[in-house]
């Protein structure tokens, strides 16, 4: 019975993936015209940083910056790039890109958006002296290494050249076929001249060129809310269909959920874990949505630990992967609110393939797991060691990790434990210092809709987020091949070949894909989420 339900869920989600964001299960919302003057209230958190595109790397600030600024391109709901500020982005060798801007685009202070608005903003973001958290986004551009080095005083990347007011060229350090796909990420937004006069002041009162702008000088009430109003001069594709969006800040989703039930909040983009089992009946038909997005959850087993190297280590990683009952955990602990993983990326992406050769290693198979573990024992005995999975305990991960650990104890007969850390800072410090003594929880949310974004930054040799220190020449070669591909489709096929190597080596064990559950009040309609799980705010209308 349970199995049947699960497979139905998988079927649904897979269908959603194929149809790319067709409705992912119940809910959905009618396409009525609605009230375009209504101001929508939505949940958020106080931005952790001033609202500077290159310095915003968390959701609280990210969703606001994304509405305040418009980059060269934006992504539609399926993650396909759409030209916005860009008239065209062209290249002949995937290495030098010529970018032409549309004429007569302006910031909300009237300043025209020119090639310099982009080049100056990108140089600012990359320069070490400005200490921007989103610095790494510019790493592909030639000259990044010089400006981003510790103590560097250079401020201009050699790869960026302004040709005329509406044209500039970007030369990359090496060819990258999917580079233009990145340009919709907010870090690549243009900045007006006023920003460079006093960046901190600008960050508190940003002037953008996006579909929305701040509703007045005191629109950002710290720790309380931030109010946005439509930008009347906006000419892009993300035209607001409401009278503005007010993001109310909540410290937790529970309080926001109560507000949603009382119609005191219009949109909640995450249903709190405590209400996952009953939110569909609480809200009723037509007021919720459940949809997979480009994010996943994994367990990383660091390659710098002796017991995980060589043939024995590989057998053990496979044994552990096959001893995890993904179907049961997603169903029981997440009430079906996650989708079991079949590879390393996410099902909503272009190029996703659910049956990559070798993916059977991600299916629950306790007999095979036990066999693999015993084979490893013959090569290199495990002894009475304990297998640990580390995570911060404050983020709602305890339940599933304990379920995984119990499964390992039962199916493999080994001692396994959850290793809790009090804070995220503590566990991240140890992870980045390569100081872990066992496995740890990892996860990734796409910066831009590309398979490569799940592979390169996480598993490329020496890559910035390669927390497990994985290094494989064959894999690196495939990645490079994919980046050099002529078309994105060809690139995707090669990236999936690269995934075959990952499924063999299992530097991280994919668990499940993230699914977004969204709820809304009786006062709004036309709610949907995009490829990255973020609600499409500009399309929401009042009733």
């Amino acid at each position: 019975m349970r199995f049947a339900r699960t497979s139905k869920l998988i079927g649904l989600a897979a269908a959603a993936a194929l149809a790319l964001s067709a409705c992912g299960g119940g809910g959905g919302t009618e396409g009525g015209e609605g009230n375009a003057a209504a101001v929508i209230t939505a949940n958020s958190t106080e931005p952790q940083n001033p609202l500077i595109p290159t310095n915003t790397n968390e959701v609280g600030g990210g969703r606001v910056v994304d509405l305040l600024f418009e980059g060269l391109i934006s992504y539609d709901a399926e993650g396909k790039p759409v030209n916005e500020m860009a008239e065209s982005i062209e290249t002949e060798d995937s290495k030098t890109y010529t970018i032409k801007l549309k004429a007569d685009q302006t910031f909300t202070n009237g300043e025209p958006v020119t090639a310099n608005s982009f080049v100056d903003a990108w140089n600012y973001g990359a320069a070490a002296e400005n200490a921007q958290l989103g610095q790494y986004f510019f790493e592909s551009i030639a000259g990044y290494d010089e400006v981003s080095a510790e103590g560097s005083t250079q401020t201009e990347m050699s790869g960026l050249k302004v040709v005329d007011d509406l044209t500039f060229t970007a030369e990359l350090a090496q060819p990258e076929s999917d580079w233009p796909l990145r340009l919709g990420y907010t870090a690549f937004s243009p900045l007006p001249k006023v920003a460079f006069e006093d960046m901190e002041a600008f960050g508190n009162n940003p002037v953008g060129n996006g579909p929305y702008m701040l509703a007045g000088e005191d629109a950002w009430q710290h720790d309380v809310q931030i109010a946005l109003t439509p930008n009347p001069d906006y000419q892009g594709t993300r035209t607001p269909k409401n009278g503005g969006i007010t993001f109310k800040f909540y410290s937790g989703f529970e309080a926001a959920y109560q507000d949603l039930l009382a119609n005191n909040l219009d949109l909640l983009d995450t249903i709190p874990p405590s209400s996952l089992a009953n939110f569909k009946t609480d809200l009723g038909e037509g007021r919720w949505l459940e949809k997979a997005y480009a994010g996943n959850q994994t367990i990383t087993i660091p390659q710098y630990l002796d017991e995980w190297t060589g043939e024995a280590g590989e057998l053990r990683r496979k044994a552990i992967s096959m001893a995890i009952n993904r179907d049961e955990i997603t169903e029981v602990i997440f009430s079906g609110g996650r989708q079991p993983a079949t590879e390393f990326t996410a099902p909503v992406l272009d190029g996703y393939d659910e049956s990559i050769p070798g993916s059977e290693v991600l299916e629950y198979n306790p007999e095979e797991a036990k066999k693999l573990w015993e084979q490893a024992e013959e090569i290199d005995p495990w002894g009475d060691k304990t297998f640990t999975i580390a995570s911060n305990a404050d983020g709602g991960h305890k339940e599933w990790i304990e379920a995984v650990v119990n499964g390992l104890k039962n199916d493999l007969g080994i001692d396994a434990q959850f290793e809790p850390y009090a804070t995220f800072a503590e566990v991240r410090t140890k992870i980045t210092a390569k100081d872990m003594t066992g496995a740890f929880r990892t996860g990734w949310q796409a910066d831009y809709p590309s398979l490569y974004n799940f592979l390169g930054p996480l598993f490329g040799t020496g890559a910035g987020s390669n927390d497990g220190e994985y290094s494989s020449e064959a894999f690196a070669k495939k990645l490079n091949e994919g980046l050099n591909a002529e078309t994105p489709e060809e690139g995707n096929a090669i990236f999936n070949e690269a995934q075959e190597i990952l499924l063999q080596d299992l530097p991280a064990i994919p668990l499940w894909y993230q699914v977004r559950q969204v709820g809304w009040s009786e006062n709004v309609e036309n709610v949907d989420t995009a490829w990255n799980g973020v609600p499409i705010y500009h399309n929401i209308t009042g009733k």
Binding site: A128, S148, E150, Q225, E254, A255, Q258, D259, E426
Partner: protein, 308 residues
């Protein structure tokens, strides 16, 4: 009395330094680098991290960090939090909210606690007394977050008598529901304390004398019994004001009140030393001042208590 108050103020100085030093040390000892956490799962660029660490003096040894903090404090510069906002500005925003919340809670627990306690005490053993005792026991036994969620759901969502969460404006009226939740447990204590105290004093010699003199029952209760019974209650309420302000973390979280508790919780999670120390320092001051107030009230309630 004046000299006594001055001396108490002077005593606050070492207490203040001791408290900030301790808190600063505890924050410093927290494992993990807060700057690293700012990057989340994303790559940490050492150049960027190093510069941020320098900006917040996180690269200095503990004593240097603490003295830099003190140095700034003397010039009324509390530094910036990690989002670049002056901590002083944060304090000015969050404290009025929590003070309002605490005062409302204090009024609620004092007024209702004393009234119920007096009635229960005067009718010892009667039905009202029994009911109130059992009810207060239940309130004390249930964790505050359960009370909070139930009240929020019933009063806020189902009945719609109040907004389920407070949010931005946090006016007096909006804070009534969270204040009741916050004050509920203390209300039960005040009630029980008042009741016991009343019962004790009812049999005191001076009450018998007052009654024998032919004073009305009302006068005996209000002037003679109540005034003397208030001493332990006032002690409790005074200490509780500080506890209410610091202990609002749970209540503020449930009702999304943008006050001290919420901010403190987030700052601890982010490891923002200067913010935590600044908030806690103000809380320490509130405690000290509340205690001073209690001591002054003592002398007023019971003239036998004299301070040299």
């Amino acid at each position: 009395m004046t000299w006594y108050i001055i001396r108490r103020f002077l005593q606050m100085i070492p207490v203040f330094f001791g408290a900030t030093f301790l808190v600063y040390f505890l924050v410093f000892s927290l494992p993990g680098d807060p700057i690293q956490a700012l990057f989340g799962d994303r790559p940490v660029n050492e150049a960027v991290a190093a510069q941020l660490r320098e900006q917040y003096n996180l690269d200095e040894p503990f004593l240097v960090q603490y003295f830099l903090y003190l140095k700034n404090l003397v010039t009324f510069n509390l530094g910036n939090d990690f989002s670049g906002r002056p901590v002083a500005e944060v304090l000015v925003q969050i404290f009025p909210v929590t003070i309002r919340l605490a005062i409302l809670a204090l009024i609620f627990e004092a007024v209702f606690g004393i009234i119920f306690g007096v009635i229960a005490g005067l009718r010892k053993g009667k039905l009202f007394d029994g009911t109130v005792l059992v009810a207060s026991l239940i309130v004390i036994a249930i964790p505050i977050f359960v009370l909070g969620f139930v009240m929020q759901f019933v009063v806020g969502v189902k009945l719609g008598w109040a907004k389920p969460t407070v949010g931005g404006d946090a006016g007096w009226f909006d804070l009534i529901l969270p204040a009741i939740v916050l004050g509920l447990v203390s209300f039960a204590y005040v009630l029980r304390l008042t009741r016991t105290s009343i019962i004790e004093n009812m049999h005191a010699d001076y009450v018998r004398t007052a009654t024998a003199k032919g004073l009305s029952r009302q006068r005996v209760v209000v002037v003679h019994i109540l005034r003397n019974s208030m001493i332990p209650v006032v002690t409790f309420l005074g200490a509780d004001l500080g506890a209410l302000m610091g202990g609002a973390i749970v209540t503020e979280g449930i009702f999304n009140v943008p006050g001290v508790g919420q901010r403190l919780y987030q700052s601890v999670l982010r490891g923002e030393g200067p913010t935590i120390v600044s908030i806690v320092s103000v809380l320490v001051m509130v405690y000290i001042l509340a205690n001073l107030l209690v001591d002054v009230l003592y002398a007023w309630l019971d003239p036998r208590i004299r301070y040299a």
